[in-house]
């Protein structure tokens, strides 16, 4: 079984600050891979390297046989990587439907001139995308909100819309950046249910960054623990939870002041 995504010795630094200091991992087909670690450990940097927002200085990132480094974000999206953001990055003036339609930007495309006419191919493709989007609306139970601008929706629903936008792209790999951050218990459980459904129904490999340890332990197949830009342990939830290095990184067992 070959890996969907491989990260190999990736180094990313900003003027001497090493955000990622030799990070390697791989994600297998259908796997839910979680990345955890204290604030500033470099979790979101991994996502930003993956989606082409940051360019690492060294290392390789391969996705389905393609080298991702040096590609621009929209090209990477076209290869089949979709993501959500830690702080919601929706198009707040647009309706839920339009946001989801945007997720399908590179499915059934047509040119600008065709768009002026809204006949033939343009209309057919719009309708095909609309059908696909309505399935996502059903799947994520967004029916009652679909015609409202997302800026007006409650936070938990916005998170769900963002997940929907990523799913609408029919990705081959889904990146979830803190999918339940700031949610209450009920919203968290809804989201967990959706994530499990995505894995079971679609068999989609996912990389998830999350602080909610309960959620990570329950959902993830494997976990990578990061600290100061370096992975300190990768393994099943059970292995990771008992690892002394991990406990130290989280609880600060050795509280020494450096001379």
């Amino acid at each position: 079984m070959s890996a969907v995504l491989t990260f190999d010795e990736v180094v990313l630094s900003f003027d001497g600050v090493r955000a990622l200091d030799g990070v390697s991992f791989s994600v297998d087909p259908g796997e839910l891979f979680a990345v955890i670690g204290p604030n500033g450990a470099g979790k979101t940097s991994i996502f930003n390297v993956l989606s082409g927002v940051y360019r690492p200085q060294r290392g390789t990132v391969r996705f389905g046989g393609e080298d991702l480094l040096g590609r621009r974000p929209h090209q990477i999206a076209r290869l089949g990587i979709a993501r959500t953001f830690q702080n919601i990055e929706l198009f707040s003036n647009l309706t839920v439907l339009d946001n989801l339609m945007l997720g399908r930007h590179h499915h059934h495309p047509y040119g600008v001139l065709a768009a002026f006419g809204w006949i033939g191919k343009a209309r057919r493709n719009e309708l095909a995308n609309r059908h696909a989007v309505e399935e996502i609306v059903d799947f994520l139970e967004l029916t009652q909100w679909r015609r409202l601008p997302v800026g007006l929706l409650p936070y938990g629903v916005q998170k769900r819309v963002e997940l929907g936008r990523a799913l609408a792209a029919e990705p081959k790999l889904l990146l979830l950046d803190e999918p339940v951050a700031g949610m209450n218990l009920e919203e968290t459980e809804d989201m967990a249910r959706f994530i499990l459904d995505i894995r079971d129904d679609l068999g989609l490999p996912m990389v998830m960054v999350e602080h909610d340890m309960g959620l990570v332990m329950d959902l993830a197949d494997r976990i990578m623990v990061m600290d100061f830009g370096r992975p300190i342990r990768t393994g099943t939830p059970k292995d990771v939870a008992t690892d002394p290095d991990v406990v130290r990184a989280y609880l600060g067992e050795e509280h020494r002041v450096q001379p």
């Binding site: 989606s51 082409g52 927002v53 621009r72 974000p73 929209h74 999206a77 076209r78 979709a82 993501r83 953001f85 990055e89 929706l90 198009f91 707040s92 003036n93 647009l94 339009d98 339609m101 945007l102 997720g103 930007h105 590179h106 495309p109 047509y110 600008v112 768009a115 002026f116 006419g117 809204w118 343009a122 209309r123 493709n125 719009e126 309708l127 609309r130 059908h131 309505e134 936008r165 990523a166 792209a169």
Partner: protein
């Protein structure tokens, strides 16, 4: 009787006129607009024809600024390019003073004006890929000054300051629009021509903004990082926004002086750009119908202020007779309207319409 908001297919739901009310209003407006020339006097019709043309230009500005989120103060520059392309193509080929090719067929010079302006827009667009917000506004402002300078000095094209040149000649398959005929006067013909063109360009723009392209533009406006990450090539869409917007500006520029029959190079100044900004701000940013409303409003405003001296004696119709003049009143009104709309109804006239609509939909309940 079927339920008004029951859709049986996505095709029905996604149609341009997807409610009975929209269909009704559109038919009523169309009938009203076509009957107007038989009711109004010629001088009012000329103002309305100008408003139709201004609306085409405002739609263009709204595509780049309202939908694409790229503030452009350079609209006058693209209007000028359109105006001079059209005037040159349809100009007198025997003239020793001015460039002219003698092709008076309206579709040819109109399309050419749009394309040349659109191309100019494409050349400017890479700036927008690098700059945003105020910086882009200042750079596009520079375009207006460069344009003004070129157009004032390139006498073979523009005729020079204070002299000018004849505007494009509107002729379609041998039919002349700019001369009085047996059935219709010049004003009636021009008004109907501009109305038809506005409807054509309006519907095209409406299609564009509800399409994949329009959504991508709105995505770039709302959050360019997220747009890029979901697969929208931000640079490409900024270029499309500028090209389409300039195309519309070129078309509007070509038609704008057909009514007066004369183009003066000094008129394409910052004031004109600001006028178009005012149109979309007052009409409604990010809406096509708002652009039309705003253009009507701004074009009719001078006409209304001209009636003021008769009602308010302290306003004079010419300078030198003390008090404030109608021109000063007009400038003050511009400023007050822009400020007023930005504070009280940022969605413009279109927003007021939406509010009225919601009120009557839920009447007699307040929510």
């Amino acid at each position: 009787m079927s339920r008004p908001l029951l859709y049986l297919s996505y095709k029905q739901d996604m149609a341009l006129l997807n409610t009975p009310a929209k269909r009704g209003w559109t038919i009523a407006l169309a009938v009203g607009a076509v009957l107007l020339p038989f009711v109004l006097t010629d001088d009012l019709l000329v103002v309305l024809a100008t408003a139709c043309v201004a609306a085409i230009g405002a739609i263009g500005l709204n595509i780049v600024t309202g939908y694409g989120g790229q503030v452009s103060l350079g609209h006058a520059f693209f209007l000028a390019i359109g105006a001079y392309t059209a005037a040159a193509i349809s100009g007198d080929p025997d003239s020793t003073r001015l460039i002219g090719f003698g092709i008076t067929s309206l579709p040819i010079w109109l399309l050419a004006a749009g394309l040349v302006a659109g191309l100019a827009g494409l050349i400017v667009a890479p700036l927008a890929a690098r700059l945003r917000g105020l910086y882009l506004a200042v750079v596009t402002l520079g375009l207006v000054f460069i344009g003004e300078h070129i157009f004032k000095h390139w006498r073979e094209l523009t005729g020079g300051v204070g002299v000018g040149r004849p505007a494009a000649v509107p002729e379609l398959f041998g039919f002349q629009f700019a001369v009085d005929g047996e059935l219709f006067t010049k004003a009636q013909k021009l008004y109907l021509l501009m109305l038809v063109l506005l409807v054509i360009f309006g519907v095209l723009a409406r299609n564009l903004v509800r399409s994949r392209t329009g959504r991508a533009l709105a995505a770039v406006r709302d959050r360019d990082l997220a747009a890029e990450v979901i697969g929208v090539d931000v640079t490409r869409y900024k270029m499309i926004a500028f090209a389409v917007s300039s195309f519309y500006a070129g078309v509007a520029g070509a038609l704008l002086y057909v009514m007066i029959g004369f183009v003066e190079p000094g008129s394409f100044n910052l004031g004109m750009s600001v006028q178009y900004i005012a149109m979309i701000l007052i009409g409604g940013v990010g809406t096509i119908s708002g652009s039309v409303l705003g253009a009507l409003f701004i074009t009719l405003l001078p006409r209304i202020t001209r009636e003021l001296p008769a009602v308010l004696p302290f306003i004079s119709s010419s300078s030198g007779s003390g008090g404030i003049t109608v021109f000063q009143v007009e400038t003050i009104l511009y400023g007050l309207l822009i400020i007023g709309f930005l504070i009280f109804e940022p969605r413009g006239l279109f927003g007021i319409w939406i509010r009225l609509r919601t009120y009557w939909k839920s009447w007699p309940f307040s929510h």
